[in-house]
C-alpha cells in the first residue's frame, strides 16, 4: 500500500496531464488551472512544516547554548515578529502603511537587494581567476565574453568608431549573441526538452520512483 498507491497515482495523474494537452474539451481544458490552484494550496500548507523545522532547529541551538546561539535567537525573534504582524494585519497586509509593509521596505528589501548586489563583486573575482586561455574551449569562452562585454557598452563604440558601420564592436557583440550564442542556446534548449521528456516518462511509468520513497 505505502509504495504501490503513490506509484499508481503518479502514473494516472501524469498520463491525465499529458492527455489534457490535446483535448480542448471540458474537463481537460480546466485541469491546468486546477493544478495551479491545488499546488498553491499545498504549498501554503507545506510551509508550516518548513517553518516549524526552522524554529525547531533554532530553538535546539538556543536551548543547548551551542556556539552562536544568540543568532539563532535573532532568527526566532524576527521570524515571529513578522509572522505575527502579518497574520494580525489581515488580508491587506501588503498595503503601504502597515507594519508589515514597513518591515518589508526597510528590512527585507535592503537585505535582499544587497545580497543580490554583492554578485557584482563575485563576478569580478570569478573573471579574474577563472577566465584563463588554458585551452581552445576556454579561449573561445573568454573571447566571446570579452567581445560581448566590450561591445555592449559605449566604450566599445568609442574604440571601434573608425570601423565601417556594421563592423563595430557593438555589431560584433550583437552578432555573437544572435548567431553562435543563439545556436548554442538552441542546442541546449532542445537537449533539455528531450531530457525532460525522458525523465517525465520514467516518472509516469514508475521506473524512477525515488520521489515517493520507493526503491526497487
Amino acid at each position: 500500500m505505502r509504495r504501490e498507491v503513490p506509484l499508481i497515482i503518479t502514473g494516472i495523474v501524469g498520463l491525465g496531464f499529458v492527455v489534457q494537452y490535446f483535448i480542448p474539451h471540458f474537463p481537460f481544458s480546466k485541469m491546468n488551472d486546477w493544478f495551479t490552484d491545488w499546488f498553491s494550496i499545498v504549498q501554503a500548507c507545506a510551509i508550516v512544516l518548513g517553518a516549524l523545522n526552522l524554529l525547531k532547529v533554532s530553538l535546539e541551538k538556543v536551548a543547548a547554548q551551542k556556539k552562536d546561539w544568540g543568532y539563532a535567537a535573532v532568527i526566532i525573534a524576527s521570524f515571529l515578529l513578522i509572522t505575527i504582524v502579518g497574520l494580525v494585519e489581515g488580508e491587506g497586509f501588503r498595503t503601504p502603511g502597515t507594519t508589515f509593509d514597513w518591515l518589508y521596505v526597510n528590512v527585507y528589501i535592503p537585505l535582499s537587494a544587497t545580497m543580490f548586489s554583492i554578485l557584482a563583486f563575485f563576478v569580478a573575482s570569478a573573471s579574474y581567476r577563472a577566465f584563463r586561455a588554458r585551452n581552445l574551449e576556454a579561449t573561445l569562452l573568454l573571447i566571446a565574453a570579452f567581445f560581448v562585454m566590450i561591445g555592449r557598452v559605449p566604450v566599445g563604440e568609442m574604440i571601434s568608431g573608425f570601423m565601417p558601420e556594421g563592423w563595430r564592436l557593438g555589431n560584433l557583440a550583437s552578432w555573437i549573441m544572435n548567431v553562435p550564442q543563439a545556436a548554442g542556446q538552441r542546442a541546449i534548449m532542445i537537449g533539455i526538452g528531450l531530457g525532460i521528456v525522458a525523465t517525465s516518462l520514467r516518472i509516469i511509468l514508475g521506473i524512477e520512483r525515488a520521489h515517493i520513497g520507493g526503491g526497487e
Binding site: N53, L54, V57, V197, L201
Partner: protein
C-alpha cells in the same frame, strides 16, 4: 461624413478550443485607409431567437488600420446559444480632445453561429505524433534493457567525479553539502535533483560522511528526507540517518543564499553539490564555496546560470546531462534504456533538421510545418 461599411463579414466556431468562442472575420471598409474616415470598428452581437437576431449589443471595439483583413475572437459566447454578428465602421469627430460626433456604418448581418467544444486539438497533431514516437523509442529501449542487453552510455565527467568528491570529504573528515536549488516540487529540475540526491546519499552513507541538505522549499524538504532515509537504509546504515540532516531555511532566494553562505564559511564542507534550478544565487554560492576550496559539482538546466557554474565549479552538468544523471549514477538498465530512447529521438530530429533544410533550400516548405505547434 459617414464612412462606407466593412464588408465580407463571416463568422464561424473557433476551432480547437473548449467552446465558448466564435471567430469573426471582416474586410476593411473602403474608407479604412491612412488618414481615412475610419478610426474604429465596433462589433455587435445578437442572440438568435426563432431564427432571427434579437437585440444587437456592442461586444468590442477595435482600432482600424489593418491591411487586408480583420480577425476577432469573441470568447464570451455560450455553447447553448446561436449568435448573429455585425461590424460597424466608426468615424469619431474630435474637438480639443473631446469626442463631439460619431458616425457609424453597419455591415450586413452574419450568422447564425454557435460555438462548439472540440475533443481533439488538430493543431497539436504534430506534438501528438512527436510524443508518441519518442515514447515508443524510450519504451522500446527500456524493454530491451530489461531483457539484459547492455547499453553503452558515454562518460559524463561530473558524474564520474561523484565518488572521488565524496571520498575526499571522508579523508578530510569534513561534511558534504547538497544544494537542490530554488525550485519546488512542481519543477522537473528539482525532481531530477532530488533523485540525484538519492544516489549521492548512498555514496555518502557508504563512506560514513555527513551529508547536510539545507533546502528552501518545504515540500522539497519532505521529499528529500524520504530519499535520503531510503538511501541510508539501502546501504544498511539506517541508524546513521537523522531527520535534521535535511533542514529548511527560508523560501526566500537571497535569504537562502545568505544563510548557505554563512554555513559554508563557518563549517567549510569539503564537497558541495549544486543540482537543480538556480537563479542569480548560483554565483554567490559557487564563489563562496570556491573561496573555501571545496570541490564543487554543479548541474542545472538554467542556461543563464551555466556559465557561472562552469567558471566557479570543478564539474558542471550541462542541461540535458542533469536529467540523464540519475539514470547514469544508478546504472540501472531500465533507466539507461530511457536515455538511449531519447537519444534515438535526438538522432531522428538531427536527420530531420538536415532533410528539412535541404527541402527548404529548394523551396519545399511543407516539411518544416510538421513541427509547428498549434496555439489555442
Amino acid at each position: 461624413m459617414t464612412p462606407l461599411p466593412p464588408f465580407g463579414v463571416t463568422v464561424a466556431d473557433k476551432p480547437n478550443d473548449a467552446g465558448g468562442a466564435v471567430t469573426i472575420r471582416w474586410r476593411p471598409s473602403p474608407d479604412d485607409v491612412e488618414n481615412g474616415k475610419v478610426t474604429f470598428y465596433r462589433i455587435y452581437r445578437a442572440v438568435e431567437k426563432d431564427g432571427q437576431p434579437g437585440q444587437f449589443v456592442q461586444i468590442d471595439q477595435r482600432p482600424a488600420g489593418a491591411d487586408t483583413a480583420y480577425v476577432l475572437h469573441d470568447g464570451n459566447a455560450d455553447d447553448e446559444l446561436s449568435y448573429f454578428y455585425r461590424v460597424a465602421a466608426l468615424k469619431l469627430v474630435k474637438k480639443d480632445g473631446l469626442v463631439v460626433g460619431e458616425y457609424l456604418a453597419q455591415s450586413d448581418i452574419a450568422g447564425p453561429v454557435s460555438p462548439v467544444a472540440q475533443w481533439f486539438h488538430m493543431g497539436r497533431l504534430s506534438a501528438f505524433i512527436g510524443v508518441a514516437f519518442l515514447s515508443f523509442f524510450i519504451l522500446f529501449f527500456i524493454s530491451r534493457a530489461k531483457s539484459g542487453r547492455t547499453l553503452f552510455i558515454r562518460k559524463i565527467g561530473g558524474l564520474e567525479a561523484v565518488d572521488e568528491a565524496v571520498g575526499r570529504a571522508t579523508e578530510m573528515g569534513k561534511s558534504i553539502y547538497y544544494i537542490s536549488g530554488l525550485g519546488d516540487m512542481d519543477n522537473m529540475q528539482t525532481i531530477a535533483a532530488i533523485t540525484i540526491l538519492g544516489r549521492v546519499a548512498e555514496v555518502a552513507a557508504k563512506y560514513d560522511t555527513y551529508l547536510d541538505v539545507p533546502v528552501c522549499r518545504s515540500m522539497v524538504m519532505v521529499t528529500a528526507r524520504e530519499i535520503v532515509k531510503l538511501a541510508y537504509s539501502k546501504v544498511g546504515r539506517p541508524d546513521a540517518y537523522k531527520d535534521d540532516q535535511v533542514h529548511y531555511l527560508t523560501d526566500d532566494q537571497f535569504g537562502y543564499a545568505a544563510a548557505v553562505d554563512g554555513m559554508v564559511v563557518r563549517e567549510k564542507p569539503a564537497t558541495i553539490f549544486f543540482m537543480g534550478q538556480f537563479f542569480a544565487e548560483s554565483l554567490i554560492l559557487a564563489e563562496t564555496g570556491n573561496s573555501i576550496g571545496a570541490i564543487q559539482i554543479a548541474g542545472t538546466a538554467m542556461p543563464a546560470q551555466l556559465p557561472f557554474f562552469v567558471a566557479a565549479c570543478d564539474y558542471t552538468l550541462i542541461g540535458e546531462e542533469l536529467f540523464a544523471a540519475s539514470a547514469y549514477l544508478s546504472k540501472e538498465p531500465k533507466l539507461l534504456g530511457s536515455i538511449k530512447g531519447a537519444d534515438i529521438g535526438k538522432a531522428v530530429f538531427l536527420i530531420a533538421i538536415i532533410v528539412g533544410v535541404v527541402f527548404e533550400v529548394f523551396g519545399i516548405w511543407q516539411f518544416s510545418n510538421l513541427f509547428s505547434v498549434g496555439s489555442n
